[in-house]
Subunit: 341 residues, 2 copies
């Protein structure tokens, strides 16, 4: 039993366009007493993902709409600080859909016990080995059916998912071209992550540079951004190409933007465009996890964590993602990791 309080980030109103701090409200709520069969978790990290902007729209999506007054949704890593549940010991690390709050009470059914992955850092549960890694692996291998020798284009390539997609593509034997914003990110893709080519979507010659980077066309396009890059990719796709629709971040602040002007290419080139969400039960995580753990252990998957401190920073952190201001997997730290005994 503990008397700790619970700071929470509530949705105040559904944002219109760009997120503002006034769209949220911080409150100090009391924590209910721990009931029999329950476990009390202290949040350490909250994952910041582009899909959080999707959750803020005033409609049901692949998850139900969040109502004003409710705690904003969030995926967390935490530590068990009190327990009346036989399956969870104090000090254990767990992951779940905690919501954006300091503490959460659970009956354990929605908690995933995190294995020890040292020497990988705890934050790798969010990137390499968590929903990010699963999204990259299942999207590229299962949805995109990428094969050796094919040209793979990845947008949002310096983002958490995109960076992994490109590296997995290289492991599979694809020629990998990444699209990112700015010369620094592009250099990171080729020099650190081993992409075959990188193209800066902010450069004046973006269209020509993208075409030049894909001299044999595109077989698989892993799309995180939608918009103009999707339009250009449609023009460069090879017959029977696959477009993995993982996200369309360029449209998240405002869904009401015109789509690509050349969607007819889907017919003419017999393309498959397929959306997916890693939460869906069709994605068996075991195969993905085994491969990711092996490749990470072999040092073949580079990753970066970008940590921002304080629950109040969640709204701005989402904007950071939409602006591309982060470098690496973005997360907000609410409390310290437990020190290893």
């Amino acid at each position: 039993m503990t008397t700790a309080g619970n700071r929470q980030l509530l949705l105040a109103r559904h944002p219109e366009g760009r997120i503002r701090d006034e769209d949220f409200r911080l409150v100090d709520a009391p924590l209910a007493p721990l009931a029999d069969g329950q476990v009390q978790v202290r949040t350490i990290y909250l994952s910041i993902d582009p899909t959080m902007r999707v959750w803020l729209h005033p409609t049901d999506n692949y998850l139900p709409m969040i109502q004003p007054g409710e705690v904003f949704r969030g995926i967390g890593i935490g530590v068990v600080e009190a327990t009346r549940h036989p399956g969870f010991a104090v000090g254990a690390l767990v992951q779940g859909l905690f919501g954006c709050q300091q503490r959460v009470l659970s009956d354990g059914s929605d908690l995933l016990a995190l294995p020890d992955i040292a020497p990988l850092p705890v934050t790798a549960h969010f990137s390499l080995l968590g929903h990010i890694g699963m999204t990259a692996y299942c999207g590229l291998v299962k949805v995109g059916a990428a094969k050796a020798g094919e040209t793979l284009l990845v947008s949002g390539a310096a983002g958490a998912v995109g960076a992994l997609v490109g590296q997995i593509g290289r492991i599979l034997g694809c020629r990998v071209v990444g699209v990112a914003g700015g010369t620094e990110k592009c250099r990171y893709l080729t020099e650190v992550l081993g992409f075959d080519a990188a193209v800066d979507y902010r450069a004046a010659d973006f269209d020509a540079a993208l075409a030049a980077a894909c001299p044999k066309g595109i077989d698989v396009y892993f799309d995180n951004v939608g918009g103009r890059t999707l339009e250009l990719a449609l023009g460069l796709m090879n017959d029977f190409g696959r477009i993995v629709c993982c996200g369309m971040i360029s449209t998240y602040d405002d869904y009401d933007v015109p789509g690509p002007r050349n969607l007819v290419q889907v017919v003419l080139k017999r393309l498959r465009m397929q959306g997916f969400v890693i939460l869906d039960p069709e994605h068996d995580p075991k195969e993905a996890y085994a491969h990711l753990l092996q490749w990470a252990g072999e040092g073949r998957l580079q990753h970066r964590a970008h940590v921002v401190d304080g629950l109040e920073r969640v709204p701005d952190a989402i904007n950071m993602l939409l602006d591309g201001r982060n470098q690496g997997k973005l997360m907000v730290r609410l409390s310290e990791e437990p020190t290893v005994a």
Copy 2:
């Protein structure tokens, strides 16, 4: 051997926007002497399909670009009028990619011998039992994976492909909603073809009427038109729905039109949008043919032929399709069917 001439429709220039007669040229060409191993075919019907407008664009598509000065491409039904080929007898009916011309010489490798399908008319080889029927069957069953109990939306539903798609959907046990232009076509869909509902895209209340006709959402959308109807369908699709991209006729005169404003729904609803062309080798025609022949024999597939006379009418006939002025499978007649002995 024959001394017959050969009237041909040549492409004069690639049309910009709407097709005009000046984009084509009619010529009277001599017919080469029949060589050993060749067969000479007199064209009876030319199929008029929306994809002919695609063939007129000055780019390679799923088939190579047609150059000015070349005979315009066309699928024909014809009768063998001379033969030096052991596999084809005079009087036999054949089908192939004849081109828009009165006669064609062939080594037989590109000719399909047509079986006797009486009491079905010869023109059914173009509709029920030809590329139209194959497109409808393979698109709905193989690409769309339509199942009993699902809601199927079909656009261009009074067109040759759409009318069959809806009827096959009913046979499969789907609830079928068709979109067509005008009250007369809509009445044809429900009263003659047995669609569950029909919606007029020219009506002022199209958006609301479409939503009302799909109270349980849309599981499979068979898209022949693209454009505004695709945008509305994206909004009404159920999770894990399939969009069969058969054609986007609304964009064929001018590819450079904005796409749907809500393409993000592909991600949020985990949709699959897939283009296909019936010429691709992945489509095994045997299963489709067997089902279509059986259903047609049982009187479960209604069809109409819309016949226009004269090779010079081909350009305007394509415009008829784009305008939706035809009623039933459109074809141009160049000569008479042989009388049955």
